[in-house]
């Protein structure tokens, strides 16, 4: 009974561990590391929110909530989505509160994917997308995007990737890891392609509020897209609430009911204290959110400038809190770059290939760090890149 590998679910067995894992082990053992490898805000949750949670505990809010979440929270979410993104949902059947967007994402896939269904996954993308599609019994079909196209998936690419088995399209803009945002016109073209082949669109818009150039376009707000789209949103990034694990899904009542069915049998409900905290965030912390977004935007400009100065081509990220520079000039693969940068200069970034093959040749740098940390990290990184350039140039001169 010791050989588990033969007994494991083959789908699970074949899922590769996240590329981030090995690097995490390496980085967490070192001292004095400045990390730009973190996928979460450097702000602590606003005190108002934390205090509201403590107060909820004091008043004895320690029980289950309705499966779909506290009615007051669902109402606040529906109100917020309407105000911020221009889409109207009925809080009584079209909004579901989940344990982070991660759960909402999993529920959405499991609710719609039948064995063998294909799901289009534009890459580079968040590390969970492909494994979650596979775990839901679907087949992820990667649609690679490049620096040249600004890491924005095109309608043409979607059309070419569609087969008779294609069931759904995943979209995540602003993007983790690239920071790319999609302009309304390009999203509208994608919407047309999705409608022509009757695709379901799972829109992970967790970074929506962190849009710096222009306004975020909610995919569900495009004409005719509301009932075809499962909108995923949450509190982690905008309100600096990653550890609270509160997200939500909004969409047509039928799909939300199906997702709720899975949710009630697997999760039951999201934690009540975190739901109370989320309600406080939506009601009273919009100014705090804007303040944090401003700070990210300041740092974003520092980051773009720093990569320019060290000669790493960097596409200008319009959203999220990541930059995704091209490290080709160093002659290193993204894993080599990240590993050597960590060893030689104690700066942690994430190799781009952790987000799909099309991320190779890039690294993800999070600017959810203080100006002081960023300044020091870029000083070190500049030194590292200059050294690598000399080595590469030396080799070229020797005909190597």
């Amino acid at each position: 009974m010791t050989d588990w590998s033969a007994r494991l679910n083959p789908t699970v067995r074949e899922i590769k561990p996240s590329g981030i894992r090995r690097f995490f082990d390496l980085a967490s053992e070192m001292k004095g590391v400045i990390s730009l490898g973190v996928g979460e805000p450097d702000f602590v949750t606003p005190w108002r929110v934390r205090e509201a949670c403590i107060y909820a505990l004091e008043r004895g809010y320690t029980m289950y909530t309705a499966n779909s979440g506290l009615p007051a929270l669902r109402e606040a979410i529906a109100g917020y989505v309407e105000e911020a993104f221009g889409v109207t949902y009925d809080p009584r059947g079209e909004v579901l509160v989940t344990v982070g967007v991660s759960e909402a994402f999993d529920l959405a896939l499991r609710a719609v994917i039948a064995p063998g269904d294909e799901v289009l996954v534009p890459e580079p993308c968040y590390v969970s997308y492909r494994p979650c599609v596979a775990l839901a019994g679907g087949r992820p079909v990667v649609v690679p995007t490049t620096l040249e196209q600004g890491f924005r998936v095109s309608a043409g690419q979607i059309e070419r990737a569609i087969t008779p088995r294609t069931k759904a399209l995943l979209l995540c803009y602003p993007s983790n890891p690239t920071g790319a945002v999609m302009p309304r016109a390009e999203l509208a073209a994608v919407a047309e392609a999705a409608a022509a082949r009757d695709l379901i669109v799972i829109a992970d818009e967790i970074y929506a509020q962190l849009t710096y150039e222009g306004e975020h376009t909610c995919f569900a707000s495009l004409p005719g897209m509301r009932d075809r789209t499962i909108l995923l949103q949450g509190f982690s990034k905008a309100f600096a609430m990653t550890g609270w694990r509160i997200g939500y899904a909004a969409g047509h009542a039928d799909v939300i009911a199906a997702m709720n069915k899975i949710h009630q049998y697997t999760m039951l409900c999201a934690p009540i204290t975190a739901q109370m905290a989320a309600l406080e965030a939506l009601k009273h912390c919009r100014d705090e959110m804007r303040r944090m977004v401003n700070q990210y935007n300041y740092r974003r400009r520092l980051v773009i400038e720093a990569f320019g100065a060290m000669g790493l081509p960097c596409f200008e990220p319009g959203g999220a809190f990541y930059a995704f520079p091209d490290i080709g000039v160093t002659g290193l693969t993204s894993e080599e770059f990240a590993e050597r940068l960590l060893m030689e200069e104690k700066v942690a970034v994430v190799p781009g290939n952790a987000f799909g093959e099309s991320g190779e040749g890039h690294v993800r740098c999070s600017y959810a760090a203080s100006v002081e940390q960023l300044t020091e990290a870029f000083k070190r990184m500049e030194r590292f890149v200059a050294r690598r350039r000399r080595t590469t140039a030396g080799r070229a001169a020797c005909g190597g």
Binding site: S18, I20, F23, F24, A27, S28, V33, S35, G37, V38, G39, E40, D42, V44, Y126, V127, S128, N176, Y298, R299, R301, L302, E305, A348, V350, A354, V371, T375
Partner: protein, 164 residues
């Protein structure tokens, strides 16, 4: 440069006076010369009063005594509270000075090396001033938060070094 941008510059400097004009220019996406000119103007017209460092003096090993003195005064004809406030404010022992609504008129934050020093200042300088009718001294026992900064803040960065 528009007024909103100037306010942004001030907010950035209020939080971190060590930011260089170049950094601020990049952060705001404005030309460096314009940021320099705006800062120079804000300094010249005394919008920017000073660049200071917030220090936890207890930790630095220099003891100091702070007291909040409530002062009642008789406002003078034509100049109101202005003349007396100016006289009080010129003493270097006075760190902060506000005109208040309510039960007293001036809130005076006084700093000294010892309690006696502060008491002596109040008794010999502040209380005898013409127009001052009464003073009430409250000594500060501990500073928890100053200028928006929590003094002993246990909130470090607890994030994982690398996360997706």
């Amino acid at each position: 440069m528009n007024a909103d941008r100037r306010l942004e510059i001030l907010e950035l400097l209020a939080n971190d006076a060590r930011l260089t004009a170049r950094q601020i220019a990049v952060m705001l996406g404005e030309p460096e010369e314009e940021v320099c000119a705006a800062i120079a103007e804000l300094e010249a017209n005394h919008t920017i009063l000073a660049y200071r460092t917030l220090i936890n003096w207890d930790k630095a090993g220099r003891s100091r005594v702070l007291a909040l003195i409530e002062v009642r005064v008789t406002p003078q004809r034509e100049v109101g509270f202005q003349a007396i406030a100016e006289r009080v404010g010129r003493f270097p022992e006075v760190k902060t000075l506000y005109l208040m609504s309510g039960a007293f008129d001036l809130a005076v934050l006084v700093e000294g090396k010892t309690m006696q020093e502060v008491a002596f200042f109040v008794a010999t300088k502040l209380a005898p001033l013409e127009g001052v009718t009464s003073t009430t001294s409250h000594f500060v026992l501990q500073t928890f938060k100053e200028e928006g900064v929590i003094v002993e803040d246990g909130e470090g960065d607890h994030r994982l070094v690398v996360s997706p």
